[in-house]
Structures are given as C-alpha cells and as structure tokens.
C-alpha cells in the first residue's frame, strides 16, 4: 500500500467521523418538531447538542482540507462540479450555525420559533444532499480529459442519487432519535424512543435497497460485499436494539452501519476517486489525483500526531456533558429581550 492509498483510507475515516458525529446532530435538528414538540422540549434537544455540534462539524472541514491537500484534482473536480448542491449545503450550514447560537440570545417566543424553524430546515437540507453527493461520486459523472465536470445540475438528480439522499436522511433521523434516547429523560425521552423504532426500521429498508443497487451496478470490487454486510449488520442491529430499548448498543450499531456504508462507497470506487462516465480513461484515480510524495509524507506526520490528540479531547468533551437532560432541568429563560422592559 502506498501513501496515496493510505490517504484515500484516511479521508474515508474523516468522512466517517463527520457522518457519525454530525449525523446525530443533524438528526436532532430535524426532530425538533417531532421529538421536541413543545417549546421546552425543543430547548432540551438544542441543549443535548449545544456543547458539541461545532466540534462535530470540524470533521467536515478536516475532510475537505485533507482532500484539497492530498488529492487536489479530486477536490477541484468535485467542488466545482457539484456546485449548486454544495452551495445549498453551505448555506444550510451557515444558517444552522447562526441559528443554534442566536436562538438563545433573546428571550422571545417568536424569536426562538423562527430560529427553531431555521434549524429544522437547515438540518434537513444537508442530511439529504450529502447522500445525493456520495451517490453521484459512486455512480460516476461526466468528466472530460482535463478533469472538468461537464454534466450540469440535473445530471446529479438520478434515481440512484435521490435514493442515496433518502438513505442518509433515514440514517440521520434514526441516529438522532437514538442519540436523544441516550441523552434525555422524561417526556422527550419517551418521544425519542417511540420515534427511534420505526426510524431505524426505515433506515434498514432504504439502506438495503440502495446498498444492493450500488454493489450490483457500480462496485469495482467484490470485497465490498463484506462492507455491505457490515453496514447491514449495523443497521439491523440498530433497529433490533432500538426495539429492545438498549440505546447504547443501538447507537454503536448505527455507527458501525455508517462505517460499513463509507467502506462500501470508498471501496466501490477504488482505485478511482471519481469515475468519469464520459470515458473511463478520464476517471480521477487515487494515482492521478494525488499530491506529491513529499506532501503526503508531511500530511501523514501531522495526521499521525494530531488525530489521537483530537480524538482524546473530543471524547473528554462528550464525557463532561454526559448527563441526561429533561424539561425539568431547563432553567428559567434569563436572556435579554430586544426592548428593555
């Protein structure tokens, strides 16, 4: 295995970290009206992710930065090619970040309700679009000899891609509900539990159809049957343990499912990173999209030193906020109002 292969794997790992972590905070955002329901319930939901959502999102920035550094051609083709979906994702992430932080700065029900709505919408959009984006990468898109995407916007909306969007949506909804079942008590906990059961079942169904479609139509490698199996075990396990009300295991199995899904996607691509449907000779591969050996060596050192440190302090941050929250734990609103009383 050469360094470029190693970085291909590492970028898969970074995406896994992103999807496992921000996956549940997207889920929590989407579930505000369903599991949060009341004004206080929604507040509980926001506070389960309040201390950690921003750290979760850095996994995306790291995956993006690592792709830029280790596979510049991949980064350039992907980001300029998937222009409009990425624009939507970026807008959603911008609005979402501000909404989570600003909704609690003014004590006014209307103010909170508007930002709540912004959080819900801006959690749905990327939850769907990440699936669409990954499905398109696996499926292949028109790329010319210079590595430039030539497909336009509607090319990205094939049935396979849209189903990919449904899959990430279902997994994140289930992931969020299971996370809330671990992190809340009282009425919110009851609603989260009730939602986790059907949601995790839906993820099994959508995931199974999409994964088989992927494997049969697009995979370049037979071994990805193993990854598919891992994803299936994860999704089924998550559904099983949600039914059994053992949410720690359900959460773990959902994480395993995401690991399996990312392995399936990346494994199916390899040795391509972005297959071209115009001509297989134009496909971006691990080898032709990579950075120089010097750069990869530098990056490897940085990643080898920093990744364990990051994992350690992020784990610590989760441990600090390990307690469950309920409506009863929410303090009185003591924020300012816009106009002095």
């Amino acid at each position: 295995m050469n360094l470029a292969d190693f970085w291909f794997i590492l970028i898969a790992v970074l995406w896994t970290g992103y999807l496992v972590l921000e996956g549940f905070d997207f889920g929590v955002g989407m579930l505000m009206p369903i599991v949060g329901k009341t004004s206080k319930g929604k507040r509980v939901l926001i506070n389960t992710i309040g201390p950690v959502w921003d750290g979760n999102e850095v996994w995306l920035l790291t995956a993006g930065g690592a792709t830029f550094a280790a596979f510049p051609e991949w980064y350039a083709t992907l980001f300029s090619g998937f222009y409009l979906p990425l624009l939507l994702i970026l807008l959603a992430l911008i609005v979402r970040a501000v909404a989570i932080e600003y909704r609690s700065k003014i004590n006014d029900e209307n103010w909170r309700n508007r930002w709540n709505l912004a959080i819900v919408v801006s959690s749905w959009i990327p939850s769907i679009l990440w699936g669409v984006a990954f499905a398109n990468i696996v499926r292949g898109v028109p790329i010319d000899a210079e590595g430039t995407y030539t497909g336009g916007f509607f090319n990205l909306l094939s049935p396979f891609a849209l189903l990919g969007g449904v899959v990430t949506l279902a997994i994140f909804l289930s992931h969020g509900a299971i996370f809330l079942s671990l992190k809340t008590s009282g009425a919110v906990f009851e609603r989260a539990k009730a939602f986790a059961k059907p949601a995790s079942m839906a993820a099994v169904v959508a995931g199974a159809v999409w994964a088989l479609w992927l494997q049969l139509a697009y995979s370049e490698n037979a071994w990805t049957w193993g990854a598919l199996l891992l994803a299936a075990v994860g999704l089924i396990g998550a559904a099983w343990f949600s039914r059994a009300d053992t949410f720690g295991l359900a959460f773990t199995f959902n994480a395993v499912a995401i690991v399996g899904a990312v392995m399936l996607i990346f494994g199916s691509l390899y040795p391509d990173v972005m297959p071209s449907t115009t001509d297989a000779a134009f496909s971006l591969t691990v080898d032709n999209a990579r950075s120089s050996h010097t750069t990869l060596v530098v990056l490897t050192w940085v990643a080898a030193i920093m990744t364990p440190i990051v994992l350690a302090y992020q784990a610590w941050s989760y441990w600090v906020f390990k307690r469950r929250l309920s409506e009863e734990h929410m303090p009185e609103h003591n924020e300012l109002t816009f106009h002095k009383n």
Binding site: R43, N47, P51, V52, W53, D54, G55, E57, V58, L61, T62, G64, G65, F68, A69, A70, F71, P72, T77, L78, F79, S80, Y83, L84, L87, L90, L91, L93, I94, A97, V98, I100, E101, Y102, S104, K105, I106, T148, S291, S292, T294, T295, V298, L299, V302, M306, T307, V310, Y313, S317, V320, F321, R323, R324, L325, E328, H329, M330, P331, F338
Partner: protein, 486 residues
Amino acid sequence: MEALDLARWQFGITTVYHFILVPLTLGLSVLVAIMQTAWVRTGKEKWLRLTKFYGKLLLINFALGVATGIVQEFQFGMNWAEYSRYVGDIFGAPLAMEALVAFFLESTFLGVWIFGWDRLSKKVHLAVVWLFAIGSNLSAYFILAANSWMQHPVGTEFNPETGRAEMNNIGEVLTNNTTLLAFPHVITSAFLIAGGFIAGIAAFWMVKKAKQDKTDPELPMYRTALRFGAVVMLVAGIGVIITGDLQAKLMFKQQPIKMAAAEGLVETTTSAPFSFLTIGNLAGDDPSSVKHIIEVPGLTSYLATGDFNAEVKGLTQLQDEYAAKYPGYEATPDYLPNLAVTYWSFRLMIGLGAFSAAAALAALWLTRRGAVTDKTWFSKLAVGSIAAPYVAASLGWIFTEMGRQPFVVAPNPTGSDMVYQLTQHGVSKAVDAWEVGISMVVFTVVYAILGVFWYRLIVRYAQEGAPVVEEPDPSDDADRPLSFAY
C-alpha cells in the same frame, strides 16, 4: 460580467465580511481568557462580571465567524478549481493542518467553555478558555502561511510532468518570511480591534455611570475595563506599526509592483517621495497622468530601504520587467494592479490605525491616577472609534490582495520562475457565470441578513452592561437543573 469577475467579487465580499468577524475573535478570545485568569487569581467579582460580559459578546461574534468561515475553505474548489489544481499540492497542506491543529481545538473547547461553568473546576475551566484562545490564534497562523505563499511562493518547484507547483520543503512554507511578518501584523491589528472594542464599550458605561453617580460601585469596574482595553490598543498599535513597516520593506523586494502602486510611483526615482494626496488617472490605464500634490521627499525610499536617497523602481519599468519575465497574459500586457484601490487603501489603513492608537492615548490620559470622566464627547469618540481599526484591517486586506493582481500566485523574484499563476487562469472551468452569479448574490443577501442580527445582538448586549453574576458552583449532581442552557 464573466465568471471570473463574479468569482472575484464573491471572494472579495465573503472574505472581507469574514474578516470583519475574525479579528475580534482572535483578540477578544485571549483578552477574555486574561480577564478570567484575573478572576481566578484575585477572586475579584469585577473580573468575573467582565469575563461574562465580554464573553457573551465574543460568542455572538464567534458564531457568525465560524459560519462564514466554512465558505472560505470550500470556495477555492467551487470557484477556483484551476487554482486548486495548480497549488493544491502545497496550498492544501496548511489548510489541512489548520483544521487538524487549530479548528478542532477552538471549536471543541469553546463548546466546553460555554456550557462548562458549572461542570468543571475553576482551574480546568480556565484552561479550557485558554485552549480555545490558542486554537483561534493558531488557525490564523496556518491560514496566513497559506496566504503568504500566494504572495511569496517558497518551498516549491514547478513539476512539468503534472503541470503544477509542488512542495519540496514544508519548513520553508511554514517559516516563509512573509508569514513571519504577516502573522504578527494581523494578530496585533486583531488586538487593536479587540482592545478598541473593549475600551469603547467600557468608556460608554463609565461616562454613563459617572454622570449619574460618581460613587456608583460599578464605576471602577468599567474604568478598569477601559484602561485594560486602552493599554492593549496602545501596545498593539505600536506592534502594528513596527510589523507594518517591516512588511513594507519586505514587500518592496518581494512584490515591488504592489508597493510602487501603493505609492503611485510611476517612474523609477531616487529619493522617492511619499505622497498624501494624488490626482490624475489612478485607474491604471494611464499612469503617466498621476500627479502628487502633497508629498514628503525621500520618505518612500526610506520606507522601502531605510535610506532616504535610495532608488525605488517605478511602475513603468516594473511593467516592462514583468512582461519580459512572466509571459502568459493574452490580452494587453498589463501587470499593474488597480492603482486607485491600492493607493488609497494603503493610506487609509495607516491613517485609521494611527487614529485608533491616538484615541487609546486620550483614554489613558483622561483616566490617569484613578480619574473617571463624564464627558459625553469622550463616550461618543470612544464608541465611534471602535469602527476605525476594523476599517483599517479590511483596507489592509483589500490592499494586499488587490495589490497582488493580476496574479493569484505572485511570482517570487528569488524563487522558481515557473511558479506563479494569473488570476484569470485560476477560475473554475466547470462553473458557468450564472451559477457564480447566483452564488455571489445568495451569499451577499444571506450575509447581509445575518449581519443585521449580529449587529443588533452586539448592540443590545453592550447596552445592557455587565451582568450581575453568581459564582459558578461546579457539581456532578445529575438531577440539579442547569444554571445555564441555550
């Protein structure tokens, strides 16, 4: 407009906007950490109140800064794919390092700081705010290393096989002499901004309280904050001047055309003057019409080299040298940046920066030996002055980025002749003008709307003054209601 122009406008708008938010975070994160340290060490309530007061303003500012920062990393690939292909091997590394070393640190520990007051012991919680502040400032280092490489590409060579610039020495990239000066210049200007922000708001409150009642127990707290901010401004202001002067000297060597444009210096001149006012066609299409009105003889030569009589190359000569050395510009061979923008942004940056430092001196004078002041003019001046270093910093970026044009990667006169890129060659081929147009308009509108909320929240919290706070009471009790929640 073409995709190229729109992409440049988008980059300008999103980056200038982002950098209105960033410097306050850089400076204020450290200054709030210092306030919290003062509280932990002295136990004085005023430091806790100031920590919470300015800490809240920091959070309002940080949220929008993070949100608009995501775009920065992605728009290289979206709008500037050809640039990304050409430089990714070397330019991507500091960005990846920034995420791994700095962003994780600042984001993770900020979350812990906000929600951790009642979860962690005083000392651990203090360590957390410092880790956040260090993370923020580290990120500035990496992004400036990336930007400095575009100003002065080092540690690199052109690989004809791959047709791109490739890294041959990361140490040179991270210790680029351009970075080593850009970083302290940016950080000191960030402290100038944050110091002005603290001092301006504290001055408003000091004057207000002093007018009502000179024995108000809150008066000393605001006076302390004012003097704290003013001292920071003064020290930072001196730092800005020193680093700026060193940067200018370096830039005369590295990007002589940018500095000649900044001085409106058309012909190569010995004992070149520094002008304060210039008329004529600064748009760049007819440099020969440029006329200096008020000027100090020899000052530009001195700023460039430390010698009043030295020769400084003018635009006409540099244009010819560049045209001969760096071919590849298909249209009219025009290597001059926009003269009006470079000339005026450079002057206004210096003027506004100097004004801030002067305002800090006034504040320290008025509050000397325990004095407070109830003068309305001072309150207005202090609050109004908050904007000055912001505008100066924005102009500084506009100067350094516009002054690099028409290059996106400016050639290094002592480095590889092959490593440079014209901005027009960096833009994405896959993206149509209408797509960039949509993206530019949508970002501008969304940023404008969010900016209104940001501004109103900052003003509202500043107008409320430092809150009365309870001592944090850390506990592991899982049933206790939270003392703070979103």
